[in-house]
Amino acid sequence: MANSIRIENIDAAYGAVRVLEDVSLTASDGETVALLGTNGNGKSTVMKCIMGIVRPSAGRIVAEIDGVSHDLIGRSTEQIVDLGIALVPEGRRLFPRQTVEENLLLGAFRPKAREQIKKNLAFCYEAFPRLAERRSQLAGSMSGGEQQMLALGRAIMTAPRILLIDEPSVGLAPVLVSRTIDKIKELKEVYQLTVLMAEQNFTQAIRIADRGYVIVHGKIAFDGRSAAELNNNDLIRKFYLGL
C-alpha cells in the first residue's frame, strides 16, 4: 500500500521573517528524495512544517499512509508521528542521560510500534552492531557517529512508513558521512520506506537519492527529475557557493 508525502505551495515565517515561499514538493511511494541546499535556506523548516513543529501560513501538506490520506496541517507533532511518519531531527536530539537501549525503547512509545518492538530492536542491533555493544552506555557519552546511528535506530523503532531525515551528515567526519548514507539506503530497502532527506552534502545525498530539489533562500530553485539531472555539478556549485 502506498506511502507518500505531498507538500503544496506552503509559506512559513518565524515572526516577521519569511523562511519558506511557495514551496511544493513530493516524495512518492518507495522513493528517496533529497532536499538540497546550504544552511539557512529553509530545509529544516520544510521538515518542521511536515512534522507540525512549525505551522505554515499557507498551503497544504498531505501524507498518504498505507493508502489512507491524512491532512497534516493542524495536527500535533505526536499525532503526526503516530500516523507513521518519523523524523531524525537536526542535531539528533537524543536523550543524553538515558542509555542507548532506553533511547531505542522510547522510540517504540506508540502502540503500533510496541507490537513490533522485538523485531525492530533486533534489527537495530543487527544493523548497528556498535549500538548492541554499547546498549547500556549513556547516549550523551557516545561519539558523533554513534549518536547518528542511534538517532536513525530510534526513528526506526517508531515503525514508520515515511522517514524524514534532517541533515544526517552534520558534525560527522567524511568517512562517517558516507557510512551513514549507506545505512539510510539499507534501512529504506529493508523496511520499504519512503524517504525525504534534507542534506547539504550534495555528493553524498545524490548517491542514494532517486530525485532531488535544491532550495535557495526559501524557494525551490531547481527540481531535479532524476539523479542524472542533479549530477550537473556546475549548476549546484552556482546555487551552493554563489560562484
Partner: protein, 244 residues
C-alpha cells in the same frame, strides 16, 4: 606585530561529542574575518569559548595581550570583546534606547578614564540607533520590533559596548536580499572606524562580499584559512560543502 585575538589549541567536548578540536586562530587588529562551516561544525561553540559563555577545557584565548581563561563574560566585554547572539536576546522589559544604555553604562563607563554624562549617554544611544536605522523606535519595546529590527538592535547593543573586536553570530539569517546588503554595508562601515570584526554567516554572498579573510570549520576542526577566493576553491572546502 601581535594579533588582537589569539586562539591557541582551544578544545571543547560535550559528553563524548568533540565540538572543538585544537583550534588555532590569529586575528590581527582591523581585519574583517568570515567564519563559515556546515551546521554543527563548532562555530558558535568557538564564539562562546572566546566570549566566556562556555569554558574551554584545553587551549588558551588571548585578547589584546591579555589571557582570558578564567575571566567572566562581563570582564571580557569590558576588555573590548563584544558579541551578538544568534537568536536575538533583547532586554524585554526595557525600551530599545535603554537596551543600548546598558552596555554604555556598564562597559563604556566602567573603563578607566571615561565617564559619559547623562546627556552624552542619550547622544550615544541616538547615534547608535540612527546608525542601524532604529531611531524612530527608540521608545518602543523589543516586543514591538520586527525580526529584522530585533537583529539590528542585537548588533547595535554589541556595538554600544565600544568594542575592539565584534563577533556577529549569524546576524543575517532570515533577512531579505536588500536587508543583507544593508547589514553588510553597516559592518563594513564599522570596520572602517577601526573595529575588528568576525562574521559568522551562512549566506555566502554576504560572507564573500564582507570578508578579507575566510576561516572554515568542519567537525570542530579548522580546515582552511586564507583569502576568500582561494579558500572557496580549496578542494577540502568544496568537499565539506558539496560532499565527496
Amino acid at each position: 606585530m601581535t594579533a588582537l585575538l589569539e586562539v591557541t589549541g582551544v578544545g571543547k567536548r560535550f559528553g563524548g561529542f568533540v565540538a572543538l578540536d585544537g583550534i588555532n586562530l590569529s586575528v590581527p587588529a582591523g581585519e574583517r574575518i568570515g567564519l563559515i562551516g556546515p551546521n554543527g561544525s563548532g562555530k558558535s561553540t568557538l564564539v562562546n569559548c572566546i566570549c566566556g559563555t562556555l569554558t574551554n577545557e584545553v587551549g588558551q584565548v588571548t585578547f589584546d595581550g591579555k589571557h582570558l581563561n578564567g575571566l567572566s563574560a562581563h570582564a571580557r566585554t569590558h576588555a573590548g570583546l563584544a558579541r551578538s547572539f544568534q537568536l536575538p536576546r533583547p532586554f524585554a522589559s526595557m525600551s530599545v534606547a535603554d537596551n543600548l544604555r546598558v552596555p554604555l553604562m556598564f562597559t563604556v563607563n566602567a573603563r578607566p578614564g571615561t565617564h559619559l554624562s547623562a546627556a552624552e549617554l542619550d547622544a550615544r544611544c541616538a547615534e547608535l540607533l540612527t546608525l542601524v536605522a532604529l531611531d524612530h523606535k527608540a521608545h518602543r519595546f523589543p516586543r514591538d520590533l520586527t525580526q529584522v529590527e530585533m537583529r539590528k538592535l542585537e548588533l547595535a547593543r554589541a556595538m554600544a559596548a565600544d568594542p575592539k573586536l565584534l563577533i556577529a553570530d549569524e546576524a543575517m539569517a532570515g533577512l531579505s536580499n536588500s536587508e543583507v546588503t544593508d547589514i553588510v554595508a553597516l559592518l563594513i562601515r564599522l570596520n572602517e572606524r577601526g573595529i575588528t570584526i568576525i562574521l559568522i554567516e551562512h549566506i555566502m554572498r554576504a560572507v564573500m562580499s564582507f570578508s578579507q579573510r575566510l576561516v572554515v570549520l568542519v567537525s570542530g576542526k579548522k580546515i582552511a584559512d586564507g583569502k576568500p577566493e582561494d579558500v572557496i576553491r580549496e578542494p577540502e572546502v568544496e568537499r565539506a560543502y558539496l560532499g565527496q
